[in-house]
């Protein structure tokens, strides 16, 4: 980021939530970069930005789509980059219909399941009459062919196609038809133009509440700072992801950055700012139900054999490194089950649990409420405070037989049964709760060794400073011991279902205190040779991983961190003693590359786009890629290379295919597969919205995951009767001084005193409208709960004009919870939130909700429930409210102007 000429921070409060990483924004600014913060609030990030652009939360696709439109209509796209490195010239199926044609839906939507069949989004395979003569002939099995596995084998609600594939997207092979003139109406380029033609500055004003002058400023800033000589970088965090179309927010930015040629280059990219220490690591070595290490998908039940499973990830004919998914899979199984994983038993593939549906945290929640879950482990999490719809969370825990809480202190998730809000309201009675709660004290990060993997994919080793006191244990020690104890219990079992546990390689060296050696675990993750002269030696690169059982490795993308038996995560050469890439500080996956897809930092001929922005380049004399960073490309693949027909995997990459994990080697402006809610991002309103969708009749994302329940009611959106009951938007967020649900900060006096009480941030205009007083109390009521907060009236909150009305947004930090153990406590903002999920990644929409706000404290006892119920009844809410998938065109279309089709093209 220090190399960026312009940084747009949108969907993130980087200075407050990532203050350490923010030093690189400060550095960029010191070097002359322009910093723009697009956010509903003026935050500490805005305070040092050059410009604040206030936005209505949830309308980001309109803004980013309008920037795409601006770039296309003003001919400001980086032509050579786009032509060579993206799928702009690829032809899409003639069956494809855009949202412009179908009032906000794409072709392939099935209203009965709420899902898309992506067949019509695929690349064209057959030569067409209209296709130019020079169009390349296709190869078999191109991206998105309907025959591909797992395309639409629908489970119930909550199933996402994205989780069937590795991070490189779905299986596909080789190149489809192209029109290099970009004129064919079926080219991605023309489809893109048409799709975003109505995303204009006027639409941005209408939808986002952003003035045309501010939009012009933003558009000029990013376009003037992109191209050969300059780069613009975007940074986002959960302000983009926690929406019912969060994944599409990021896709929109990806399209924009590809058009501007800002991917794979210094100072470019889209920075996904991870929330706290090793959250990146917890997706690499996942704590997610739908992933295995290294972004291999969790197998689904119907994938009977390991070949079925691997075939569903990637075909051997497709381009790039996902074609080697068989090697990554077999090596993982060897690492976990050692000698028990053999070719004749499918490398113990049957030992892996298989998915029969979505089992994310919110699906598990509803199963708990239905008494279908007996036990629950809570580790480094405080769902009673930190998860959406807090009341549902606490009620669900009261249905468990047992639960384990591992934390530093008695967090609210461990004490809800005696002093939670439902005890006070009378909805739960302690003596009637059968849940047995086990509390295990946890070691802190200074009391254990291991790695953190941060936002930049950098693994950094942390040494143990002191031993954990008393009974406190590290996660590693806890689970190692739990495994040992379970295996001891099962050691005489002949039940085949116990084999996966008994056959696990579960033998780590322990220190004097009995703690397993974290470095031994890292070595296992790195992988080693199992046969041959190097038997037992660590692997040094993922390219050494084999599918024949001769190697093992716990996470293929981490291979190399322990190359030559050296813990490279512990490399700590100070910055001033090395160049700016700082390759000797920590270790970045994969292969210690600091910038992904950095082949794109050079032009198709292999020369840097400019001296100022050079990173890696082709050394013609040495016949190899070289440069400041480690090239993210086959090192001897010359720029002009055309891969031989019939080749697959890395061998099939042409010399100008920088996106080496994509099935076609190109950056995807249009996603022919992989996204479950559309091949191009389209703007939909949040589940609860104060305005009608200004772009389409379709109001919300038609594929969002719904939880229509009486304990998860949705407020009526604008235009629906009852909408006036909850007239204000609220958005939730973190503060620097506290950490998420407070388990690591509200118990610490030094942090607690800095932000001691729950508060809400409101504009002076809203305060005047509702009679709120500075530092007085306010009660906020949503369809799920009512909470109280101190009032902070500030001009940092801006009322916006959107949808023909004034939209007020209320800011709510979510760090406090109700309990008696912490130094500071208070009502939990997340109690207000409902549960509705993004269909791609199952994340909840916690950045936008509707509520009412009134002066004074909330009622106590049963009166609190009465208040929430009175609001619900006044609004006429039922579980159906707001949960229609497709907005009824009969209701919406009259009085609406139909889209003008071709307008804006050119």
């Amino acid at each position: 980021m220090a190399n960026a000429d312009c940084i747009v921070i949108q969907g993130s409060n980087m200075a407050e939530c990532h203050p350490v990483g923010f030093q690189w924004v400060s550095e960029a600014k010191a070097r002359g970069a322009r910093i723009i913060h697009v956010d509903p609030r003026f935050t500490r990030t805005t305070a040092i930005a050059d410009k604040h652009v206030p936005i209505r939360a949830g309308s980001d696709v309109v803004l980013l789509g309008a920037l795409i439109n601006y770039v296309l209509t003003h001919d400001l796209w980086f032509e050579e980059y786009v032509r060579a490195y993206t799928n702009a010239s690829f032809l899409i199926s003639e069956q494809f219909r855009d949202t412009e044609d179908l009032e906000g839906l794409f072709s392939g939507y099935d209203p009965s399941t709420g899902k898309y069949d992506p067949a019509s989004w695929a690349y064209q395979r057959e030569r067409r009459d209209s296709a130019p003569e020079d169009a390349q002939t296709d190869r078999p099995g191109d991206a998105g062919a309907p025959s591909d596995a797992s395309a639409h084998d629908g489970y119930g609600d909550g199933e996402a196609e994205g989780e069937s594939h590795g991070s490189g997207g779905p299986p596909a092979a080789s190149e489809p038809l192209r029109d290099e003139t970009l004129q064919d109406p079926s080219t991605v380029f023309q489809i893109l133009k048409r799709h975003y033609s109505r995303y204009t500055a006027e639409m941005v004003r209408e939808a986002c509440g952003i003035s045309e002058a501010d939009f012009e400023y933003l558009a000029r800033s990013i376009t003037e700072n992109s191209g050969r000589e300059r780069t613009t970088c975007f940074a986002y965090a959960v302000g983009w992801t926690q929406h019912t179309l969060g994944a599409q927010f990021i896709r929109t930015a990806s399209i924009l950055q590809l058009l501007l040629g800002n991917m794979g280059r210094p100072g470019g990219g889209i920075m996904a700012l991870r929330g706290h220490a090793s959250i990146q690591g917890s997706t690499d070595i996942p704590t997610l139900f739908n992933l295995l290490p290294g972004y291999l998908p969790m197998p689904k039940a119907e994938l009977e054999t390991v070949q079925d499973y691997i075939g569903a990830i990637a075909s051997k004919q497709q381009k790039g490194f996902w074609a080697n998914a068989d090697a990554y899979t077999v090596s993982l199984l060897k690492a976990w089950w050692g000698d028990a994983a053999q070719p004749d038993n499918d490398w113990a593939y049957d030992y892996l649990p298989r998915l029969t549906g979505a089992h994310g945290t919110y699906q598990t929640l509803t199963e708990m409420l239905a008494d279908e879950v007996e036990g629950y482990f809570i580790l480094g999490q405080n769902p009673a405070v930190g998860s959406a719809n807090g009341r549902m969370q606490r009620m669900a825990m009261s249905h468990l037989k047992w639960m384990v809480v591992r934390d530093f202190s008695l967090i609210e998730s461990a004490t809800w049964w005696k002093d939670g809000p439902e005890i006070d309201s009378g909805e739960l009675r302690t003596e009637e709760i059968d849940t047995e709660v086990f509390f295990f004290p946890a070691a802190t990060h200074v009391e254990k060794a291991g790695t953190f993997t941060q936002t930049q994919r950098l693994l950094q080793w942390r040494h143990q400073a002191v031993s954990p006191p008393g009974d406190c244990q590290s996660e590693l020690a806890f689970f190692y011991e739990l495994g040992l104890r379970i295996r001891e219990r099962l050691k005489d079992s002949g039940d085949p279902r116990d084999r996966p546990l008994l056959d696990l390689t579960w033998d780590y060296p322990v220190d004097d205190d009995g703690d397993p050696d974290a470095l031994a675990v890292l070595a296992e993750i790195n992988g080693r040779h199992l046969t041959g002269p190097d038997r037992g030696k660590p692997l040094s690169s993922y390219t050494q991983i084999k599918a024949d059982g001769s190697t093992e490795g716990g996470c293929w993308i981490y291979t190399g961190v322990y190359a030559d038996g050296v813990n490279h995560a512990a490399d700590r050469v100070p910055g001033q003693e090395q160049d700016e890439i700082a390759a000797k500080w920590g270790w970045a996956w994969p292969a210690n590359r600091r910038i992904l897809y950095n082949r794109a930092s050079a032009d198709p001929q292999g020369k840097p786009w400019s001296e100022r922005k050079k990173l890696v380049w082709w050394d013609e004399a040495a016949r190899k890629w070289t440069g400041d960073d480690i090239p993210d490309f086959p090192v001897d693949r010359a720029p002009g290379t055309e891969a031989p027909d019939g080749s697959g995997g890395p061998d099939a990459l042409d010399g100008d295919d920088p996106f080496i994990m994509q099935a076609d080697g190109k950056g995807w402006l249009f996603a022919p597969k992989g996204m479950v809610d559309g091949p191009l991002p389209a703007h939909y309103e949040p589940q609860e919205s104060p305005v009608r969708n200004p772009l389409y009749a379709q109001q919300p994302n038609a594929t969002r995951e719904l939880f229509p329940r009486w304990d998860n009611l949705t407020a009526a959106s604008r235009g629906v009767p009852g909408a006036e009951v909850y007239p204000y938007m609220f958005t939730t967020y973190r503060l620097t001084e506290q950490h998420t649900a407070g388990g690591m900060s509200r118990w610490l006096p030094y942090l607690a005193e800095l932000q001691p009480e729950m508060f809400c941030e409101v504009s002076p205009e809203l305060a005047a409208e509702r009679g709120l007083e500075q530092n007085g109390w306010a009660t906020l009521v949503s369809p799920r709960a009512a909470i109280e907060a101190k009032v902070l009236i500030t001009e940092r909150m801006t009322p916006l004009e959107s949808g023909g009305r004034t939209v007020h947004q209320i800011g709510l930090p979510y760090h406090w919870g109700v309990g008696r153990e912490a130094v500071v406590s208070g009502d939990a903002a997340n109690d207000l939130l409902g549960i509705t999920l993004d269909p791609n990644v199952h994340i909840q929409e916690s950045k936008v909700g509707l509520c009412d706000i009134r002066p004074g404290r909330r009622p106590r006892g049963a009166a609190l429930v009465d208040m929430v119920t009175e609001y619900q009844q006044r609004a006429g809410l039922t579980p159906q409210t707001g949960n229609e998938r497709v907005t009824d065109p009969a209701r919406e279309l009259p009085g609406r102007e139909l889209p003008a089709g071709e307008e804006g093209q050119g």
Partner: protein, 351 residues
């Protein structure tokens, strides 16, 4: 020992008669890059084992909930929300400082009484508009509103009022030119509290660090003492080990810099000149002027508005500065009284 204002004291350690004076150390706090994370406040309390402050109540004062520097809070981050009118005033007052002929040098803010009357028209000639501009010298783009953050700390004055008035010798000048309380000498008389022109030093009234699920603390942990005077030591203990003070060490944006005071001063002057070049004429230095009422401070600040806005005195003056004059007048008065008495006796004797 008392120094007079205006007298150049290049090195107060020499003034304190150290035989082997170290270079004078100090902070340069650049508020223009402060992100208000308060890591300095926390790192300071962690290192010095200071108690938490207050009653865990929100102050309703933007994001500031510790209020002010005090016996327990030795770094304090102020948060100031300003509208456009106030920004323009700050910009024009800063420009007036420049117009005095001292660009980039950071003239004493204490002398800016007339600056506020500078014609504001020059500050609103369109450069505050939202139109994009790629000129390097264009003023910043976000003038409608701003949120100032500034980490305050003990100034470690060249002429330190607290030190001057301390009757027990508990306060002393270190070999690094800083001012430190010796906890085992201080008797808690509180004279220094009135002696500090910045309101920094304070007596600790109560409290120890309490952490409910207490983890084992090393036996050597220093326990804060009740009743005695407390303030920033500029991490004297760390300094002696050649370590950076805790606040500067933890600052993620290098807003707090630490080093030889001369270097801090030159860095500060370069920075203010740079900001002026960018059109941010509101930038000015505080504590950099050796001719101010405390002879300049060891802690230098770059501010983006007048000192009062940050709760800093515009014209700090060490109370002992007037002592010589007071002594002189007292002497004259004494002489007069002696003379009068003598005269009285003489006259009486005649009776």
């Amino acid at each position: 020992m008392t120094a007079q204002p205006g007298r150049q004291v290049a090195n107060p350690t020499a003034d304190a008669h150290y035989e082997h004076p170290h270079s004078r150390r100090g902070f340069f706090t650049d508020t223009s890059i402060c992100i208000g994370c308060k890591a300095c406040e926390v790192a300071c309390k962690e290192w010095n084992r200071n108690p938490a402050d207050g009653d865990y109540e929100i102050l309703g004062s933007s994001y500031d909930n510790t209020g002010a520097l005090g016996a327990n809070t030795w770094r304090h981050v102020a948060f100031i929300e300003q509208d456009r009118e106030r920004i323009e005033q700050a910009r024009s007052s800063g420009r007036a400082l420049v117009d005095l002929g001292m660009p980039g040098v950071g003239p004493p803010p204490a002398r800016t009484g007339s600056a506020r009357t500078a014609p504001s028209a020059t500050a609103s000639t369109g450069e505050t508009g939202g139109a994009p501009s790629s000129e390097g010298t264009a003023p910043p783009d976000s003038p409608e509103f701003r949120w100032l953050m500034s980490s305050d700390v003990c100034k470690h004055c060249t002429n330190a009022g607290c030190l001057d008035v301390c009757p027990t010798g508990a306060l002393f000048r270190t070999e690094y030119g800083t001012v430190v309380v010796q906890e085992d000498v201080c008797n808690g008389c509180g004279t220094c509290v009135a002696g500090c022109p910045f309101g920094v030093i304070e007596r600790r009234t109560d409290g120890l660090v309490t952490t409910p699920p207490s983890r084992d603390l090393p036996a050597s942990v220093k326990r804060p003492q009740t009743g005695i005077a407390q303030k920033c030591t500029l991490c004297y203990d760390r300094m002696k080990d050649d370590e950076t003070p805790a606040c500067a060490k933890t600052c993620p944006t290098t807003s707090i810099k630490y080093g030889r005071r001369e270097e801090m001063l030159s860095t500060a002057r370069e920075r203010v000149a740079q900001l002026h070049e960018q059109g941010m004429t509101e930038a000015r230095l505080y504590g950099a002027n050796p001719d101010d009422g405390v002879g300049g401070t060891g802690s230098i600040f770059l501010l983006l508005d007048e000192p009062e806005v940050y709760g800093l005195p515009p014209d700090p003056r060490v109370p002992t500065a007037d002592l010589p004059r007071m002594f002189k007048r007292a002497g004259l008065a004494m002489a007069g009284m002696v003379a009068a008495t003598a005269t009285a006796f003489a006259l009486g004797g005649r009776r």
